[in-house]
């Protein structure tokens, strides 16, 4: 079972996808504004606000009555279902979504992923401890994306929490994402509440999973909760465990206000909505607040909690999690991780987050050169709600005007491309994904390269050193596939860091791999050699020194910038030969002979030729009926539009797509 393949599903239920799901897919293309997408949301929350009286009184919940937690799990281990059940249990949403009144109001949201909204939600829960009087608690369930690409977002969501439910499937046991997420939570000093889910399954083996949790994470097997979110079995123990084991938020209520901005999205009616966690002090509607990173000040126009939709409360107290609306224009003003404080006070800024690191770059070009404006428009709208993509204009001799986009990882990139095509109908050519490299020259200068074409093929100064980013990859797999996977990893220049048995059947492998080696087809390859039984996850690691070279592809002597790649010297010949072969298959015969070469600097390392087209002649125009032939010629003309011309060589779009896909 594979994490990346399934990860798109995680993404759906993730906070990252919040924007995605708030954006009704169908209306995006039509809506001229950046975020008409939130229309439904704004409407419903407003009406909710008006209809739901009396307002919630947050003053009843001092820090000690608050628990902030998240649920972390490998894909499909039941995170969403568990979240739903907990919300049903607390009456935050109605069971089975069956309440007609609720449905009527929020049908749109429901269709578009109520789970998403509901998952970063405030719940109220009466905790009854033996022999004691029941006591009301405010529980904030803060959603986290499951996938590693968004691990920086996981960290930021986790930083608003003090604990996490670590959910593991009773049959599948610990998987790669379980490991990755566990360590993120562990590093964030969160209290882990282990939950084995799906214990109702016939193949459930909770004892084996308990043993794994013990051996992998040193978790106390007595503390593991056994539940079935599906049947409700054992569910009643979850929230009491959250309250008992997870500490309340540590903030100081009589200190000046300090809030962590941990997310934002755009709402057409409200403007930018910021998700905040109040660390110290309190906030009331009408307060003037300042943002430490941007230095901007705003008035708080609305403040409330997500219950599960935006619900005004007029205030937020220490330890509470909610939203504020300030009349900010774009999400760009809301820097995730920023510290918000009361204007004219002085506070120590919160540690914040590491800035987003873009680890995968690719050029995005309109498939038809004339569509550049449409692409610009689509990208602008997309990035309006996904600030995690970096975008810079670039021009390619082969592909025309386009953009160099930076992504958090592969999945992030895939989702972005998919959204461009699906939501905006934009046909794009994306260049081979590349990672950020550093080159050092003999004159001491250093060059950061996000686009291989930007690296001089014949530099003035000699390259003295080069560095590439690496990742620490976690692979969990049935032991019979270990040999094949070790071969794959060493072929990808991986360095084994760990090789342990989780139990009798499953092996845990840890590798340091150059990021470049996994950006394209590593996961597909892994899946294929393990029949889909391996799970894989990775986290960014440091740069390593590597012998890197630029590989140019030349057509009739002219380098095609869009096909340039940076490869390890040892692999250059192989990659060059493969690229030349592939190009030969994808480029059709032209009126001239076409010479394809792969070169490092001025050294040709692979070559082939496509012989000239011999015949493409008009047939007889019988009886003067030229219409059919003309249609043929028109078609041929249209075909030429789908070509990118480099020098005198026409390269079909498909060739780029295919070559870029498989290399």
């Amino acid at each position: 079972m594979g994490s990346m393949y399934r990860a798109s599903k995680t993404l759906k239920s993730s906070r990252q996808a919040l924007t995605l799901l708030f954006n009704p897919v169908k209306s995006i293309g039509r809506d001229p504004s950046c975020s008409g997408l939130h229309q439904a949301y704004g409407f419903s929350s407003d009406s909710k606000q008006n209809s739901r009286e009396p307002a919630i009184d947050l003053t009843q919940f001092p820090s000690e009555k608050i628990r902030n937690f998240s649920i972390i799990a490998h894909i499909d281990h039941g995170k969403s279902t568990l979240a739903d059940r907990l919300m049903e249990l607390t009456g935050t949403i109605k069971k089975g979504h069956g309440q007609p009144q609720y449905l009527d109001k929020l049908q749109v949201e429901r269709e578009r992923g109520i789970t998403v909204k509901a998952q970063t939600a405030t719940m109220f829960y009466e905790n009854k401890v033996k022999d004691q009087e029941a006591s009301a608690f405010l529980l904030n369930l803060i959603d986290t994306p499951g996938h590693v690409d968004f691990s920086y977002e996981v960290s930021r969501s986790l930083s608003a929490c003090q604990g996490a439910l670590l959910v593991v499937d009773a049959a599948q046991g610990v998987q790669a994402q379980t490991v990755a997420n566990f360590y993120l939570a562990f590093e964030a000093n969160l209290t882990i509440v282990p939950v084995i889910n799906k214990i109702d399954q016939p193949t459930a083996d909770p004892d084996r999973v308990k043993a794994q949790l013990k051996s992998m994470f040193d978790l106390d097997t007595d503390e593991v909760l056994l539940v079935s979110a599906k049947t409700g079995l054992g569910l009643e123990h979850v929230l009491p465990a959250v309250i008992e084991r997870i500490p309340p938020p540590p903030g100081i209520s009589d200190s000046p206000l300090r809030m962590l901005l941990f997310d934002s999205f755009f709402n057409e009616y409200k403007g930018v909505v910021c998700y905040v966690s109040v660390v110290d002090g309190m906030l009331t509607k009408g307060d003037k607040v300042s943002f430490a990173a941007t230095g901007q000040s705003y008035e708080v126009l609305d403040v409330g909690i997500m219950h599960p939709e935006l619900t005004s409360t007029g205030m937020l107290l220490t330890g509470q999690v909610g939203y504020i609306v300030t009349g900010m224009r774009t999400t760009k003003e809301a820097r995730i991780g920023d510290t918000i404080y009361r204007t004219k006070t002085t506070v120590e800024p919160l540690p914040g987050f590491k800035p987003v690191r873009h680890m995968v770059f690719s050029g995005v070009y309109p498939a038809d050169g004339s569509d550049f404006e449409a692409l610009t428009h689509a990208i602008e709208k997309l990035t309006c709600n996904d600030a995690s993509v970096s975008v810079a204009k670039e021009t390619s001799a082969a592909l025309g005007m386009g953009f160099r986009c930076g992504f958090l990882g592969l999945l992030h990139m895939d989702v972005f491309h998919q959204r461009l095509e699906q939501e905006y109908g934009t046909q794009v050519i994306s260049t081979i994904p590349t990672v950020p490299y550093t080159f050092e020259y003999s004159d001491g200068s250093k060059l950061q390269v996000q686009n291989p074409a930007a690296l001089p093929s014949n530099p003035k100064y000699r390259v003295t050193a080069s560095w590439e980013p690496t990742v620490i990859a976690t692979i969990i797999l049935p032991s019979e596939y270990v040999g094949a996977v070790i071969n794959l990893c060493s072929d990808r220049r991986g360095q084994q860091l760990e090789y342990t048995f989780i139990d009798a059947q499953r092996v845990f492998l840890k590798y340091q791999l150059p990021l470049r080696e996994i950006v394209v087809d590593f996961y597909d390859e892994l899946k294929s050699i393990t029949s889909g039984y391996a799970s894989f996850d990775y986290e960014d690691a440091e740069y390593q020194k590597s012998d890197l070279v630029k590989l140019d592809i030349l057509l009739n002597g002219q380098a095609v910038d869009a096909l340039a790649t940076i490869v390890h010297n040892q692999k250059a010949y192989r990659v060059g030969k493969e690229l030349v072969e592939k190009l030969k298959n994808f480029i059709e015969r032209q009126m001239f002979e076409v010479m394809i070469q792969a070169a490092i600097g001025s050294k040709i390392i692979a070559r082939d030729t496509i012989s000239a087209m011999r015949k493409n002649v008009l047939a007889k125009c019988y009886g003067g009926d030229i219409t059919r032939k003309k249609k043929l010629l028109e078609k041929q003309k249209e075909g030429k539009k789908r070509m990118k011309r480099v020098g005198s060589v026409d390269i079909p779009h498909e060739a780029f797509q295919q070559i870029l896909k498989v290399s």
Binding site: M591, F592, M613, R614, K615, N616, V617, L618, A619, K620, C621, Y622, G623, G624, D625, I626, T627, K629, K630, L632, L633, E634, Q636, K637, G639, K640, K641, S648
Partner: protein, 479 residues
């Protein structure tokens, strides 16, 4: 009546043409720098050629004994009973032929135009099908009808496609007496196995017989049709066919490269370029061989697939097509070009019958009102003139469609002039060398058409890639 009003539009040959309306319909960008004089000079302009009355007629006689395996034309197969018979007798009374010709005559008679002048027809082409299956008596009826309806020049070129095994000396003589003066003989190949493989209704013996008949009857202007790239055809076979063709001394040879069309027997069985069809390279070799052997034997390669002994033997009827000039067409599935409209008649007999009835009561619209999309005209001209060895008349084209288009086309073609696929000629038809052409194209001050009068595809390399080259120009005209 086809038109309820006699529109002043059809006054194109008077001093007040209606070009301005046409010209601004489309093409406004490209035409912006067209000299006004060119626009006014309607009667000679390429953009108004189609407005005049046609002087050519294509007549479709769709009967065949059986359908050839490569054929997707609208034909009516008569079956084998006809093939064994003494031709003259049996076909005389075949009601299918008689009925069809009657329908055809009705169509011709129902054809009304609104041209101010109705010049006599200068060319008539009987195509098929196998027109030689039609009894001369019925051919005569068609010619008489054409003559009374449009008039027929005394020296009109009257061509007829004839297949070996479908006519004897007597029949040919009769046809010649009726005015048929050009024979297009569908030989296709000189190898028994190839004729069989493509489902021809005749063998090699009939081929030789037919050639003998044509020569014995003294048909001066006759063409032999050959097909290259047939399944199992080898270069040796092709050379043999060409040699035997040359030995037969036709005044004209048409060489067609086999097109594998969908829905034909060949289309169901063969893939172009794949065995037993020759590869693309072999097939190109066939084309080149034909060009060099026939030119070596004194034929002029005046069109992609046409060769003629001298100027006088070029097919005048086909030159009308290549010149983008108007022509009538009558009969099943035939395509006409009148008043700027390219119109194809129904390919099925039943629908065609209905069409003729509609035509008779004025309900059918086959004739254009003279309005055309100028981009269509421009691309038609490009496509058609590049088929000929004369090529595109740059100056004339520029006058009609604007200098900008000419410049852009020249720019696009520059690499192909350099590679030799395209030939530039000055007004004396001397070749303009590629480096000079490059200079001309690069210099914005220079009027290219002052130095380059014609652009044409080089024989054979340019002709071989005509689709590629023509579609490049299409891209310039309508991007």
């Amino acid at each position: 009546m086809l038109r309820t009003t006699t529109s002043p539009i059809f006054s194109s040959f008077t001093s007040k043409p209606r070009t301005s309306r046409l010209i601004f319909k489309a093409f406004n960008v490209i035409l912006e720098d067209t000299p006004p004089s060119a626009r006014r000079n309607a009667s000679t302009n390429l953009t108004t050629l189609h407005q005049g009355p046609p002087t050519s007629a294509y007549v479709h006689l769709p009967f065949c004994r059986k359908r050839c395996h490569y054929c997707d034309f609208p034909i009516l197969a008569l079956g084998s009973s006809v093939s064994n018979a003494p031709y003259e007798e049996k076909q005389e009374d075949d009601p299918r032929i008689t009925n069809y010709v009657n329908l055809l005559v009705r169509e011709i008679n129902a054809t009304r135009t609104c041209f101010d002048t109705n010049p006599n027809l200068k060319t008539v082409f009987f195509g098929g099908g196998t027109p030689s299956l039609v009894p001369p008596k019925l051919v005569s009826l068609v010619l008489e009808t054409l003559s009374s309806r449009f008039g027929l020049c005394p020296d009109a070129e009257i061509s007829m496609e004839m297949d070996p095994g479908t006519f004897g000396g007597e029949k040919l003589k009769e046809l010649m007496d009726l005015g048929v003066n050009r024979v297009s003989l569908g030989v296709q190949a000189f190898q028994e196995e190839l004729l069989k493989a493509c489902g021809r209704a005749h063998g090699v013996t009939e081929v030789y017989e037919a050639i003998e008949i044509v020569r014995a009857c003294g048909v001066e202007n006759w063409s032999m049709d050959l097909i290259s790239s047939l399944p199992h055809q080898t270069l040796e076979m092709w050379e043999e066919s060409l040699r035997l063709a040359i030995e037969s001394q036709p005044s004209h040879v048409s060489v067609y490269d086999l097109q594998v069309e969908q829905g034909t027997k060949f289309g169901n069985v063969y893939t172009p370029g794949k065995s037993p069809l020759p590869s693309e390279t072999q097939s190109a070799e066939f084309y080149k061989t034909a060009s060099s052997m026939l030119r070596g034997a004194g034929y002029e390669h005046y069109e992609v697939s046409s060769y003629s002994k001298d100027e006088g033997f070029k097919c005048k009827h086909n030159l009308i097509y290549w010149g983008n000039k108007p022509f009538y067409a009558f009969g099943l599935g035939s395509a006409s070009y009148v008043g700027g409209l390219r119109f194809s008649r129904p390919r099925r007999l039943k629908e065609y019958t209905n069409y003729v009835a509609d035509l008779e009561n004025g309900a059918a619209n086959w004739c254009g009102d003279g309005n055309v999309d100028l981009k269509d005209v421009a691309t038609d001209i490009i496509m058609l003139s590049f088929r000929t060895s004369k090529g595109l008349e740059v100056k004339e084209f520029g006058e009609a469609f604007g200098r900008k288009v000419v410049n852009s086309i020249c720019k696009v073609y520059e690499p192909y002039v350099e590679s030799g696929h395209i030939v530039c000629l000055d007004d004396m038809r001397r070749e303009v060398m590629s480096d000079e052409f490059k200079k001309l194209v690069g210099d914005d001050e220079v009027k290219i058409e002052d130095h380059v009068r014609y652009l044409r595809l080089r024989d054979p390399d340019g002709f071989l890639l005509s689709n590629e080259l023509i579609s490049l120009a299409f891209g310039v005209i309508s991007p």
